[in-house]
Symmetry: C2
Subunit: 243 residues, 2 copies
Amino acid sequence: MTTVLKLGGSVVTRKDEPETVDETNLERAAAALADGPGDLVVVHGGGSFGHHHASEHGVSTTEGTHEAVGVTDIHGAMKRLNDAVVAALQRAGVPAVPVHPFSLAWRDADGTLHLPADSVRAMLDEGFVPVLHGDVVVHAGRGATILSGDELVVSLAGSLDADRVGLCSDVPGVLDDEGTVVPRIERFEDVADYLGGSEATDVTGGMAAKVRELLALDAPAQVFDLDGLAGFLDGADTGTVID
Amino acid sequence: MTTVLKLGGSVVTRKDEPETVDETNLERAAAALADGPGDLVVVHGGGSFGHHHASEHGVSTTEGTHEAVGVTDIHGAMKRLNDAVVAALQRAGVPAVPVHPFSLAWRDADGTLHLPADSVRAMLDEGFVPVLHGDVVVHAGRGATILSGDELVVSLAGSLDADRVGLCSDVPGVLDDEGTVVPRIERFEDVADYLGGSEATDVTGGMAAKVRELLALDAPAQVFDLDGLAGFLDGADTGTVID
């Protein structure tokens, strides 16, 4: 039983304050994960760590940079956030270890992501909980572009043949036009009218992109907030199920 | 033309002082690399950063740990050193970017190292200089063991089909029993009598192990010190040639 869980940037950071970890949320998440399922991969977003540096260097998922300093500014900020997430999980008793996507992933000239997952699989087999993060990624012909946490979730869910995928963000699920959680999405058309762009600046796309990517997975995915995390890890259907 | 260069832990750190970068040496090396060849991969050793933590947790290339905190202690120290090396190279104008081996490598139950080099190749193709380092590595059945810089050099030289391999350490080459540099080694037996163990504590083996590994490469390798680095990068034969 392999679970891929994303902790959104809006969960683990204070999105409006540069490079600020949301310690309260992070501790809540870590406590939930301490009772979590066996094979667990965690991916976290960038929140107020990654996006600021990405904007500053004009880098997005399609606009790249050949400046090594731009790469290390963005990557370094994400590693500082990853350090905080890994440390919080370890304090809660989770055998978390860091995996930095820039080291192993690359995009080809078409923008297709290649992420060999053998090292992550080997960590799971040894009882570790690999913790990946949104990052920069080398991109053929464009230097380095942004790799979103959502893309990582989709890639890992496929390559690890995940049984369950969870996206924990700051909303309790995908909302309809009255602000009510949509319990189940089977086709993008079911919710196309409700999904505008993300309000905050987010170089990696909002809910619409998430839903499209999750629909493409073999595994069922769920979108929920911190209140739903423990339930998801217990095997319950929480928030919005996308299948 | 692809070059793999190792900067030994004895070059970039003060081996006798815990977690201390040798700034003078590092700046000299960075200045030499600024005029370096096109496709260049740099690997650095652990010196006073990695070995201390490895010893403390009882971890070696064969003795592993399943403690996540042990993994991050060693890995974190090596990333701090890598930050310093990458920053020094960038200051000298080298488009250096970090690659953390723990993220992408793994050992199987036989201890054989698997290191997919596609991301490193993609970085080279975009004009970056990937900078790897001795690290921990997940090891099937043993948790995580140590991955030496020398093993990385051997693996990358093979997978990147390197044309030249250089090992810059604190000795001007492989020395005979009178302290004179042996200009050329073609078989281990040529120098077996001269090569004892390394004097300092070194979890990853001394010169004997290096020579054996370098002899197994397709590419010619050279062992030299900082005085020989600029010459090596210019294409000259410096120190000891192992071929």
